[in-house]
């Protein structure tokens, strides 16, 4: 089933970490295999923020084996060495969990694709997000569990999107969890509710064009699809409109960039979305109760129609 939620404050910042946690927790009945946040925090914009993992959170009942922390340490060490080789200086380092890290990097990135490829060539390492504002945090469990684990409730920023996942066609693990980073574009993230039926065909085409997939989750296709469109010069909105026919299946998805938030709904309108829009706030989610967690008063909401694409700026 899955639930998605997003909000954008226009002209001001707010406690988006706490707000999104409330929205996603309201949707936990739609799935709590994993929960993910894409938070666009207030930063000075000087350094890149890289969220990455050096291992998986192996949940209870999984046939996978939890790796020893020493393995993570070794991978982290190689990441640090690789960054140093590329001339990147780690300004700040946080290791929330043994397998999950956050680096602030002082580095004049000329080619984010090459940078990412070098980091991800290290076995077991995956960049969850890269940007000057975006931070993708995702892990197993419901919204509150993930929020508490990563102390997200105090994050202040302008906008955010998130996902409460009920795993159906790929594993219960972090790499299959949403949001997906729009690799290799700085500050682009995607969450999706639905099912894409031309995933493999599109994946083969996009991989032949040099795009990268990290999971076998169909939703990742949206991030890669949009990234490829933008790489070829399309605007975000143009890419999203193309996706209405380029992607087959049922979907409602959100995409966020450094300064915008967009939604797209397939031509069959098979997946739910409720939207609230005012001059200073746009909030949307799979169900109205998500919006009610940040706006408990009586408000006017509506369902976007089939084939609708909307983009808002901060």
């Amino acid at each position: 089933m899955c639930g998605i939620a997003g909000l954008i404050h226009r002209g001001k910042s707010s406690n988006v970490g706490s707000e999104l946690q409330g929205m996603l927790q309201a949707l936990k009945h739609r799935g709590e295999d994993s929960t993910g946040y894409a938070l666009y925090g207030d930063t000075d914009g000087k350094n890149f923020i890289m969220r990455f993992k050096v291992g998986e959170n192996v949940g209870e009942g999984s046939s996978s084996v939890m790796e020893d922390v020493s393995v993570y340490d070794e991978r982290k060490k190689i990441v640090d060495e690789t960054l140093a080789e590329m001339g990147a200086k780690i300004v700040k380092e946080e290791r929330t969990l043994p397998y999950s890290l956050r680096y602030e990097i002082d580095y004049n990135v000329k080619d984010l694709l090459e940078f990412s490829q070098r980091i991800e060539s290290i076995p077991g390492v995956e960049i969850l997000s890269m940007g000057k504002s975006l931070e993708v945090i995702k892990d197993l469990g419901n919204a509150k569990m993930v929020c508490d684990r990563y102390s997200l409730d105090k994050v202040v920023g302008t906008h955010a999107i998130g996902h409460a996942r009920m795993a159906t066609e790929s594993g219960v693990d972090i790499k299959s969890a949403h949001p997906f980073w729009g690799y290799p574009f700085s500050d682009v993230s995607v969450v999706h509710n639905g099912q894409l039926t031309n995933y493999w065909n599109n994946r083969r085409v996009l991989e032949n064009k040099g795009m990268r997939f990290m999971s076998e989750c169909d939703s990742e296709l949206i991030a890669v699809y949009l990234a490829e469109k933008m790489r070829d010069g399309a605007t975000l909105e143009e890419g999203m409109k193309a996706s209405l026919t380029g992607l087959d299946g049922v979907f409602t998805y959100f995409v966020a960039t450094k300064d915008s938030l967009g939604m797209a709904k397939d031509t069959m309108a098979a997946k739910p979305l409720v939207l609230y829009e005012s001059d200073d706030l746009v909030a949307m989610g799979s169900e109205e109760i998500a919006i009610r967690s940040v706006l408990p008063q009586e408000i006017d909401t509506y369902d976007p129609f089939d084939g609708e694409v909307k983009v808002w700026q901060i």
């Binding site: 109760i289 009610r292 009586e298 369902d303 089939d306």
Partner: protein, 284 residues
């Protein structure tokens, strides 16, 4: 309402507006004698007094708790209940088989007023997906917008949305009337079997896709017709009915119904021969 005693059996359901085709052969329709109405009752229904009014704040209640309390109030004879702070909760007001005036001061989430038979409901807000699914009788009025699958599989009653609705409005409906003051999304009337849908605004793609029967009236633009949905002549009788219905619904009273489009099933997609599968097999 038609006089059931004087109308021939063949056209009883037709005269009630339930369908347009002439049924032949085997049918599972049951015709009840109105004189025996007191013999037909639901278990767990109550005698209520519409003048006995109360309010219920459900802000801190779960949906089951709220529904249980509504039932409890009906058992005490309250015939008018005002629900405060529904706050988009799902499944509020489901399964009410009573005559009741129910007023929601706010919006409902999914499945609001599902499987009801008899209540008169006013929702001073918005509703989420599948509002009034399987409504059998009564009237539900929504003052703002509604989500997708509005009035899915309703069998009777009037379902009115003064704003716009999402996709698949009236999917699989088997009777009753759905009235939309604004626009409607894709696949409106998808696989509908009987009943009527009135849309005063525009409607999305695939209108009436694979409909078996029933009638759709559209006041605005149509995105596209679905499979087997075809235009039909808007008769004087249709216009009179539309005027009456819109007046009763307190919506679009001054709307020029003469310019509405009427869409019905082309009846090319299905075979209504009334044979059971085993009988078909024998015939082959």
């Amino acid at each position: 309402m038609a006089n059931l005693k004087t109308v021939s059996k063949k056209s009883k359901a037709q005269s009630m507006g339930m369908h347009t085709e002439v049924l032949t052969g085997r049918t599972q329709q049951k015709f009840f004698n109105p004189d025996e109405a007191e013999n037909f009752y639901y278990f767990g229904t109550y005698d209520v007094d519409f003048n006995k009014r109360t309010e219920l704040d459900v802000k801190d209640m779960t949906a089951p708790e709220a529904n249980k309390e509504i039932d409890n109030l009906m058992s005490q004879g309250y015939g008018t209940i005002v629900i405060k702070n529904p706050q988009g909760k799902h499944s509020l007001g489901v399964g009410i088989l009573n005559k009741l005036n129910l007023i929601f001061e706010g919006s409902l989430g999914y499945f609001g007023m599902g499987s009801c038979d008899g209540p008169i409901v006013r929702i001073n807000g918005r509703v989420g997906w599948s509002c009034a699914e399987n409504l059998m009788a009564g009237k539900v009025v929504i003052e703002k917008n509604a989500g997708s699958c509005f009035g899915a599989a309703i069998r009777g009653g009037d379902l009115i949305c003064k704003g716009s609705v999402g996709a698949r409005t009236g999917i699989d409906m088997k009777g009753g009337t759905i009235i939309i003051g604004g626009d409607a999304g894709a696949f409106t009337g998808f696989m509908m079997q009987r009943g009527r849908i009135i849309i005063l605004g525009d409607v999305g793609i695939n209108l009436g896709d694979s409909m078996y029967d029933g009638t759709i009236f559209v006041g605005g633009e149509i995105g596209s017709y679905g499979s087997d949905a075809v235009d039909a002549e808007l008769t004087k009788s249709d216009q009179d009915w539309l005027k009456r219905k819109l007046k009763v619904a307190e919506i679009g009273e001054n709307f020029d119904v003469s310019k509405m489009k009427k869409i019905v099933a082309g009846k090319k997609l299905w075979n209504y021969d009334n044979l059971e599968p085993t009988e078909k097999k024998g015939a082959i």
